[in-house]
């Protein structure tokens, strides 16, 4: 509970930092307009964007829009519950498209969730068995090879593995498409196959990266547990090796791994920025890049703050999960 209370000021400070960085920067949304636009018109554009207000007023406006107006709109659209008049509320508008920022984000979220979520899931599914086997057979050839591969997967940035995958599988072998076709809607078996085909490369590249980090951690965690007394007790009771490893040791070693998985979820969203750029997936990461290049401040601010919320939220979740899984830890 104390941690929950601490999370709120943290988020407020972060949102202010993001706002301040964007605001202090020497940047003018009318800067990209042609030189022929007269100064009065520029001034009008600035007023229409709300830029004539002092900074703290704009920050307050943004906070109200983000924390009160937008959640109410989402409630309204998702469940039909309307509190207050929806048309009266001001929304965070993108400077580039003049449409509400939240709508843009909602549009882009599924692609990111599919690619990033699947790759994280596959990464976990690969990493846990590899970690178990290489810890149980420490220094065997499997462990040596596994450790080397995870070291490589962990060190080699995804934009290089992705590029190599494109060269091999798209340019040379022509198995998979080079560019993610985002207009594809899955309505027939044919389209489903195409969708799977174009997802294989981005998902496997990210999955390899996630798996290599997790499997190292899984291995270390199991090694920590293998020499503990309770393992000897379990063996002395005459339980089979299989039961000892998969029930006794695994349950205890998974505790830190589960928290690491929770902590890793927000970082993969920012990692997805790069992967989406390599394979041209039109997810949240690409939206952010476009917004940054177009100096679309409200969109950049909202997206960056959403990433921050994810980080704080999953930190909290990791803490709570750790407390539930490990009764030795208690937060007061």
């Amino acid at each position: 509970m104390r941690r929950l209370l601490l999370a709120i000021p943290t988020l407020l400070v972060i949102s202010f930092i993001i706002f301040a960085i964007l605001d202090l920067a020497p940047n003018d949304p009318t800067g990209n307009l042609p030189m022929t636009v007269p100064p009065e018109v520029r001034e009008k554009i600035r007023v229409s964007l709300g830029l004539d207000q002092p900074m703290h007023v704009r920050f307050g406006m943004w906070l109200i829009q983000f924390f009160v107006n937008e959640p109410l709109n989402i409630l309204h659209e998702a469940f039909g519950i309307s509190i207050g008049d929806a048309t009266e509320r001001t929304r965070i508008l993108s400077w580039a498209t003049r449409s509400p920022v939240i709508d843009l984000i909602i549009q882009r979220t599924p692609q990111t969730l599919w690619v990033v979520g699947l790759s994280y899931l596959f990464g976990i599914l690969i990493a846990i068995p590899i970690g178990i086997v290489s810890a149980y057979k420490q220094y065997s050839w499997f462990d040596q090879v596994g450790t080397f591969i995870s070291m490589v997967g962990f060190s080699v940035p995804t934009f290089f593995t992705g590029m190599v995958a494109i060269i091999i599988f798209s340019v040379q072998l022509k198995w998979f498409p080079m560019i993610y076709d985002t207009t594809l809607s899955v309505d027939s078996w044919q389209n489903f196959v195409t969708q799977v085909k174009q997802m294989i490369m981005p998902v496997s590249v990210l999955a390899l990266y996630n798996a290599s980090q997790l499997s190292r951690f899984m291995r270390a965690s199991i090694l920590d547990n293998l020499n503990l007394d309770y393992v000897r007790t379990a063996r002395a009771k005459g339980r089979s090796e299989r039961v000892v490893l998969l029930i006794h040791v695994l349950r205890n070693s998974l505790i830190p791994v589960v928290t690491l998985i929770a902590l890793g979820i927000p970082t993969i969203f920012s990692g997805a920025i790069i992967t989406e750029q390599i394979f041209r997936v039109n997810g949240l990461g690409q939206l952010l890049i476009i917004a940054i290049e177009g100096a679309d401040i409200p969109l950049v601010q909202t997206l960056t703050f959403l990433f921050a919320i994810l980080i704080v939220l999953f930190n909290l979740i990791a803490d709570v999960v750790y407390g539930i899984l490990d009764p030795r830890i208690r937060y007061d």
Partner: protein, 308 residues
């Protein structure tokens, strides 16, 4: 053969086999095959990048349209790109920048992290605020923020310090100030443990000043985690710089770094895939070797593992 003679012989042996701390560390470090290979690869890359341009003396920015998109030839060992830049010369020049960014950003992060860690561990009243600050920085979405900062301040710095130096300073600075947190946490927890030990109390009792206790007694004892996080810091900074360049928000196009070369090569992936392979390979090799060095250092500097 008396006992005395034997004793003298033994003591002679003990004296001649004098072992220093760093000697021990080196002996243990040598046992780690991966780390040793890492040292060789990393020194080879560093030497090649800084001495290479004197041997392979083609100007990396020379344009030659007649010789574009060449494969490997004797005068252009790695071929040329779409406007006739020599790829090897660009790789070497880019490597200098990438390694310099990695090293300088690591130094900033290390100094900041160590300072904050020591202050938080040593001065009780600063512990709370400094650790909240660390938590805050850990909760910042780093990559989006880096992109935003670079985009917004690029033009100002460019006019102030020129296009190359301005961007270089900006990138080194922002990577540095966004990656000190882990060092600070490790240093703080180590300082908290060490400052309660007897030798620190002893130093206090003979009237040693606080600053001297920090530099003379505490700093040497936390050197090993600092060194390990230094290696990780270099790897992290190189990856971050190339990721920024890869997203098109790092260095300007005419200023080669490994990440920038990769980004430029990505558009020509069907014509000259080697333009992607070489810079990527060098980023990967550098980071891999640095990570292995860090792994070896961690084992070698841990007295519980040493001598086994």
């Amino acid at each position: 053969m008396t006992d005395i003679a034997k004793f003298e012989e033994l003591s002679q042996e003990a004296v001649s086999k004098h072992r220093s701390l760093w000697g021990d560390v080196w002996i243990q470090f040598r046992k780690h095959k991966g780390a040793l290979t890492g040292v060789f690869v990393f020194s080879f890359i560093t030497l090649a990048v800084f001495i290479g341009p004197y041997i392979h003396d083609i100007d990396p920015s020379a344009i030659n349209f007649k010789k574009r998109n060449l494969g490997p030839t004797l005068s252009h060992p790695l071929g040329t790109d779409n406007i006739g830049h020599d790829t090897l010369a660009q790789m070497l020049a880019g490597g200098q920048v990438s390694l310099a960014v990695g090293f300088l950003a690591m130094m900033i992060a290390l100094i900041l992290g160590t300072m904050i860690g020591i202050l938080a561990g040593f001065i009780k009243s600063l512990d709370g605020p400094l650790m909240r600050l660390t938590d805050l920085f850990l909760a910042l979405p780093i990559l989006p923020l880096l992109l935003v900062i670079i985009l917004l301040f690029r033009d100002t710095l460019r006019t102030l310090y020129g296009p190359e130096a301005g961007i270089f300073m900006l990138i080194v600075f922002v990577i540095g100030i966004t990656s000190w947190m882990h060092t600070a946490r490790i240093v703080r927890s180590d300082v908290l443990g060490i400052k309660e030990r007897e030798f620190v109390t002893a130093a206090y009792s003979i009237g040693t000043r606080k600053s001297r206790i920090i530099f003379r007694h505490i700093l040497p004892n936390i050197l090993s985690p600092i060194m390990v996080s230094a290696t990780l810091g270099i790897a992290n900074a190189i990856i971050t710089e190339s990721a920024l360049s890869f997203l098109g928000l790092g260095f300007p196009p005419d200023f080669p770094t490994w990440g920038r070369l990769l980004y430029d090569g990505a558009n020509f992936i069907q014509i000259t895939p080697s333009r992607v392979i070489w810079p990527g390979l060098f980023i990967a090799l550098t980071v891999l070797s640095v990570n292995y060095i860090g792994d070896g250092l961690r084992d070698a500097l841990d007295p519980r593992l040493r001598g086994r």
